[in-house]
Symmetry: C2
Subunit: 434 residues, 2 copies
């Protein structure tokens, strides 16, 4: 295996030569074998071992084993301890995810502090196969069937083309010792079941199954890269971005026979996975929306609009006197002697004596109504929004000026006629949105 | 299951209602159950049974069973006999492929002759799962993992969302009888092994595995449609088609980080599968090429050129006299009194007395040389082609005019100076390419 390993590295990962490498080492067979292969091939490698303190004396035994291994082989070793359970609890993560985050943050720190170039891990082909099967068992998309890559950025996996069997053979031929890995993987049961019950059958049905599997992975990765290209190309054609909103033009989108596939691709990163709901929304009436954790997808006439869910500002801001306010919006109050008749939606003129101070500025609430200027009777604010075809985010961004529970102004939009100044004998207040 | 079946049809295949359906029926459990479900749901269905004569009396037993089933249920039935082995032999096909071709040709004929609308087959979800696993076991790309579709064109598969178990339960609950299917599938051993050894484990690891598998299929189909879009979009950007040649512009292509994935997508339909060879060819020197059964992929300066392999015409065509020839090219011979000095590559003037009739027209052969007009000495024709940067297909499409083994003209390209007419005392022959 040593020769094949060296050939693989010089052919496929030539850039590792002359670089300073940091090997993530657990003490298990895979990482110990990789350390030996690298050492025997003359690569400049340091070791990094995480003690996650999850298995008591066993964890400490692993640490000691790695320290000894490093000393015997004259290799630099970095060791760190993590309070993994606490970190998981504090950050609301699974133990596995917590351990993963902790170790990669630390590895990158080590890289930086010690001027090292790459992090190496000992993932091998059977790991990829098992992950493929786990994802397949649970149901997945293409991204679940493409395996981990040989390299992403600073992380390189030089054993990814090698099978577990090759690694085991190398270990036994070279009388290499390692620590039995009592893994913490959450999928341990599933992984073992697949490893012991399914993989041997697959291998028996095709004597070069692992080679075929590598071909499969490589084909699927190619298809994935094509699908990603299409996603980007078509996105540019049918989506407009404006501030923090994305407008999906349904007319253009729906000309594509597979437009649902695109929508799904684009919306998944925003936490939308309810496939049928998205599909139904494209046909729904304006104003319908679906929510993910942090985003809203709104049907608005010829668009789907994707926007972050802003926390609705429930606070009430008081205007004490003629000075106006600067926050959350800028209103200037000014006593004038005559209304300006030019129609300017950014300013209203009201009979000052009809107002009760302090005025308040707030968002609309269920049940709000007002007496819109220009028409008889009163109208619910929600009805006004609907008639004016306000989008959800427009509604939520609209402020009301209120005097003693009565709406004076849907700010910037429509005045309430109850506060009209009827004659010039009482003081007129000009309220302007700046 | 009847209710679920009816719901499925009205929701997902509403167009089948009121249509005349032709059900492909083997007599096995799947097709018999589908026939019952359709009949009980009030669909207008006729039956089509193929006797492939591959299993002697068993085949005849199947036929009789289907005839009886049709009679008992008052259904129209079409039956045909095939000499499958002979068809396979005559057409150099496997028995499976032969049977498949025979039956679909016949089904489509029946559709036409009897004014029927759709062919129905009884493929179910476990069939799709087994095919997925077979392809996965052998190594495949995305196309091998996307299953057969519910519909392509005239063929519809109404049971594709149903499991084998549902079908079996329906059969036993309704005391339906069927013929045990001793399938001829070439993958029978593999299929059975997967069905009995692997699928049960997968189902035990995830109690809704078949649902997850359906999701997987649907996601993979979406990704496939995106990958196909990218393939078409990028093809338009980097490929020029000219007659029967396709020019892949390497400069544009290689700006794509995943250009190899595109090349592979585009070239696979032409029988190119040697992945590394294609990749190497993009870096190879001009003139290198690789072959598939019927196509050649040629590196030619900044292009890869894909072209059909034309059978090289080895024949020799004789020109008996001044009349010229019409085939394989049109040459007109004419005695004139003076050379026309305007340079016209489509015509030459030669000393008629230097020619030996019959002249011949043929393609170039290894070892051919000539004395090119305008330079001293002689030159190999192959060297001339190379200097003039002829592509392989240009070389093969070039005709030579030959007089007694001596090349008179590389037709349309370059004259041989040995046949120049030197004075006006001997007759001049004008030879023109029309």
């Amino acid at each position: 295996m040593l020769f094949k390993f060296q050939k693989h590295l010089s052919e496929n990962l030539p850039f590792l030569r002359e670089k300073k490498l940091l090997l993530a080492i657990s003490g298990g067979i895979d990482s110990i074998v990789l350390a030996q292969l690298l050492r025997q091939s003359g690569y400049a490698v340091s070791l990094a071992h995480c003690n996650f303190n999850l298995r008591g004396s066993e964890s400490d035994g692993d640490e000691q084993f790695v320290r000894n291994f490093a000393a015997e082989n004259n290799l630099e070793v970095f060791v760190t301890h993590f309070d993994t359970e606490r970190f998981a609890q504090d950050n609301k993560l699974s133990i596995q995810l917590a351990a993963r985050q902790l170790r990669y943050i630390w590895f990158h720190q080590l890289l930086e502090e010690n001027n090292l170039d790459f992090i190496l891990t000992a993932h091998h082909l059977d790991d990829n196969l098992e992950t493929f099967l786990i994802n397949f068992t649970r149901g997945t998309g293409l991204e679940g069937l493409t395996g981990i890559p040989v390299q992403n950025d600073k992380i390189v996996r030089p054993l990814l083309k090698f099978s577990r069997e090759e690694i085991q053979n190398f270990a036994s031929e070279n009388k290499i010792e390692w620590r039995e890995d009592s893994s913490n993987a959450s999928d341990k049961y599933l992984r073992n079941k697949l490893r012991h019950d399914i993989v041997p059958i697959l291998k028996s049905l095709n004597s070069s199954f692992l080679n075929s599997f590598q071909d499969t992975l490589s084909h699927l990765n190619q298809s994935k890269s094509l699908a990603e290209d299409a996603s980007v190309l078509v996105y540019k054609q049918v989506v407009t971005e404006k501030e923090n909103q994305k407008f999906f033009r349904l007319f253009d989108l729906k000309r594509l026979p597979n437009y649902e596939a695109y929508l799904f691709e684009w919306l998944r990163p925003f936490g939308f996975t309810a496939w049928k709901d998205i599909s139904n929304l494209t046909e729904a009436q304006s104003g319908k929306f679906i929510l993910s954790d942090k985003f809203r997808l709104l049907k608005d006439r010829d668009f789907l609009i994707l926007e972050p869910i802003l926390e609705k500002d429930e606070r009430i801001y008081e205007i004490e006197d003629d000075a106006g306010i600067d926050f959350p919006i800028k209103l200037k109050l000014e006593t004038v002697f005559q209304s300006d008749k030019t129609s300017n939606p950014a300013a209203i003129y009201v009979d000052k004596e009809k107002l009760k101070f302090p005025l308040t500025v707030r968002k609309w609430q269920e049940g709000d109504y007002f007496c819109p200027a220009g028409i008889d009777g009163k109208k619910k604010v929600s009805k006004y929004f609907k008639d004016e075809k306000f989008s959800l985010s427009e509604k939520e961004n609209t402020w009301l000026l209120v005097s003693d529970q009565e709406i004076v102004w849907i700010i910037g939009k429509r005045q309430d006629r109850r506060f009209y100044s009827k004659n010039n004998t009482t003081p007129i207040l000009k309220i302007a949105l700046l």
